[in-house]
Symmetry: C2
Subunit: 164 residues, 2 copies
DNA sequence: ATGACACTGTTATATTATTACACTTCTCGA
DNA sequence: TCGAGAAGTGTAATAATATAACAGTGTCAT
């Protein structure tokens, strides 16, 4: 299945900006950490950012194949692993899919709003939610190491589109 | 892989109680809803409760096979689907595994603390966390339909065991 | 230049989940 | 109580996601 068309302009927002910025940040971070953002890693990150929807490993793989990259599963999973380790992308457990991290470099768990209508994902940066979670873990004397918070439903734009 | 031994008594708690109670609740709920808790559905629920750890579909399948049940994947997935629909179990997206619901009948999303040491799962019933989540969704004009909250780390018992 | 390490290529396979279709059992109204 | 429709089950095949293992290649510091 080839991914849907990805217009650069959506809802008054030039997505090319995001892609460029994300790539620039990634390059900077990797340089700073002496990590190598190799062509396939870079391309995977780019593909993920180009999509307005989270992409599955095999969707990425198909795109890479079209572009002449090696296209066996380990290729993409290795790239994803690298990007995850460096906090450049997030994995959405409820979708088995991957999405760009909107604040790489800052240590954080991703909290997500996932619209099942348009399939877009919004990352929440929420100190108060984080604090609530931290408190609950603390009450149970639980040493928190990672968090998965994925909220699904219908986003405001899709709601508006239905109402009218 | 056969599942680990499942002692009935753990940490001063008679787990047989839990199993019996969960089964009794399930029977009552299904009766009330005119749903059929057939032998395979019932057995899957029982196996899930008997385990102190979440079980994967194929672990369940292996147990069913040993007991002479039909053991093709659809058997267990259908049972799981039924149990999920009736709120008798939860699926843990981060583990691809299933665990008993501690409050069936009450409408709720499951919030979980998952210990990666002992692999046990504790379900949080947390109105305040729920409220925090609801607020955040509301701020984004997001119509919330389902929530996945899975917190991983090390539970208090395992921490104690390490400290000493 | 060379040794160590990171990265990539390739094949195979593991794990989780679904589709499709035939058959059986249950339920409930005529 | 009969039979039609719905719900449940059996079975085979396959899809979708992810990992293992091992060989080969490139990179970089010494």
């Amino acid at each position: 299945m080839s991914p849907p068309c990805q217009p650069a302009f959506v809802a008054g927002h030039n997505h090319n900006h995001c892609i460029e910025q994300a790539l620039a940040q990634a390059v900077a971070l990797c340089k700073q950490r002496n990590s190598r953002l190799t062509p396939s890693r870079r391309r995977v990150l780019e593909l993920i950012w180009q999509s307005h929807q989270p992409l599955g490993a095999y969707q990425l793989l198909a795109q890479l194949a079209e572009e002449g990259f090696n296209s066996a599963p380990p290729t993409v999973y290795r790239a994803l692993e690298f990007l995850l380790e460096h906090g450049l992308i997030h994995r959405l457990a409820s979708l088995n899919a991957y999405t760009g991290c909107s604040g790489p470099g800052t240590q954080h768990s991703g909290y997500f709003l996932i619209c099942h209508r348009c399939n877009r994902v919004q990352e929440l940066a929420s100190p108060s939610l984080k604090e609530a979670v931290r408190q609950h873990a603390g009450q149970a004397d639980f040493l928190l190491e990672s968090e998965i918070i994925e909220l699904s439903g219908c986003c405001s734009q899709c709601l508006k589109a239905t109402d009218k």
